[in-house]
Symmetry: D2
Subunit: 145 residues, 4 copies
């Protein structure tokens, strides 16, 4: 476990997550926050599915993106914000139930951080794996400017 630059990282991330209206829209919940790792749960709902009845790949991407991003954010100092530069996700199995996305930091750099997220079903099926790059915006607040 890495030492966070901001001892109040947990509260900072929970408040930020609360402002992500898109997470509320899909019913995602922030369940675990430690320095360098974040878990987000997504209960299954019919309105999250694609044409074959599986959870939409983009929805899987949403929780993976947020989990990896907040894992990166947990190690950053207070008073900054971060943006997703890019991510790449492989879908490994069709998602037919509740999911959990676990994000973790691979390399925390001064400007760029590389993070990963693994998405699992409740039976531990490995549903998706994501590799992501984020950029810290120093001195730019994590809320609407």
């Amino acid at each position: 476990m890495e030492a966070p630059a901001d001892p109040h990282f947990g509260r900072r991330i929970r408040e930020s997550f609360e402002r992500q209206q898109a997470m509320a829209l899909i019913g995602a919940r922030l369940v675990t926050v430690t320095p360098g790792t974040v878990e987000i749960e997504l209960p299954f709902r019919d309105d999250l599915t694609q044409q074959k009845g599986f959870v939409h790949g983009g929805i899987i991407g949403m929780i993976a993106d947020s989990a990896a991003g907040y894992a990166a954010f947990s190690l950053m100092p207070a008073g900054c914000s971060l943006v997703t530069v890019e991510y790449k996700m492989n879908i490994l199995a069709a998602a037919t139930g509740a999911l959990v996305a676990r994000g973790e930091v691979v390399k925390a750099g001064r400007t760029l951080t590389v993070a990963r997220a693994e998405v699992y079903a409740q039976d531990r099926t490995h549903v998706a794996t994501m590799q992501q790059t984020l950029m810290m915006l120093a001195g730019r607040p994590d809320h609407p400017e």
Copy 2:
């Protein structure tokens, strides 16, 4: 413009899109379907945003994923379905309004198709670019089995 393997590709895609409940959830609309290209529009809504008030990167990924996927699907024969193997997206600019995602086929193979999607704002700002791999499932229907 490539020749579609199924002359009824347009109807097939529109019906498939209608079954994507996740697209209805976010308010996305299928606007253009030609052989090898598909456009999806997304009006802006507050409940699609992340913590800074921009459209969530995962939401951008959703419309790009579907646009590129249906572009691939437009060239496939009737009676098959396809799955997203993986995608990689760069976010180029913060999205603060309505978006359009334009998907197009890069290479249509027998099993795998590579497609791209470009996402633009209404003022033509280039918001995101995605590269995607899809796999055709021959003889597997494009609806819940």
Copy 3:
């Protein structure tokens, strides 16, 4: 450790690696082969560098591509071959010395396998991380046809 489909996977991979003339060109060596993991070493040479004197990112990609690909190949049956569908690599640190790439399988599917590779310097600096998709070609030999 997963059970290999071919008990002679080790010999099969070593012989395949020997046919990779590009690995000889850059001086890469196959050092470890187990079911689902493969390690490749690359001693430093001036003629592997880019304009700033670091090992070229594409050279790092070469050993990561081969390590992850052979990790996938180690779990496949005899008599098949495989092709790299795509890979995505983040470069985490400048490489100024010898490297080792460790490939491992994330998900071995019937047609597609997802693998990863981590590249490290001798001082354990994490130099690069790669996520890769491979496709098995059943009944197609792993040598020039």
Copy 4:
């Protein structure tokens, strides 16, 4: 065609390419440099191949990486350097002869630039497509420090 920040971008790139010893190792040649686009040619050689006799995917990645990177570099001011943050490449066809990689800028940002490269065979077969992120290092020279 975009306006270059440095009118001497062409000479700057040619000199930088000359310092890429890895390009000399594989026999790659810089053939075209304009603001925002760069082309690199690679004659076929047996020692560039993988186990089936095709050009190694990592070698294809090398010329795509350099072509897209120098396309980005062509728009940057004098006196800076740049590093590859990450790239993602789909291999679309087996490469059995000479190749040309064409890099172009998708979005030139202040810190990060997104570029693409397309790799073609001499018969115009589309061999690979790459999406890449680069970071400018202001005030850091483009040679060994």
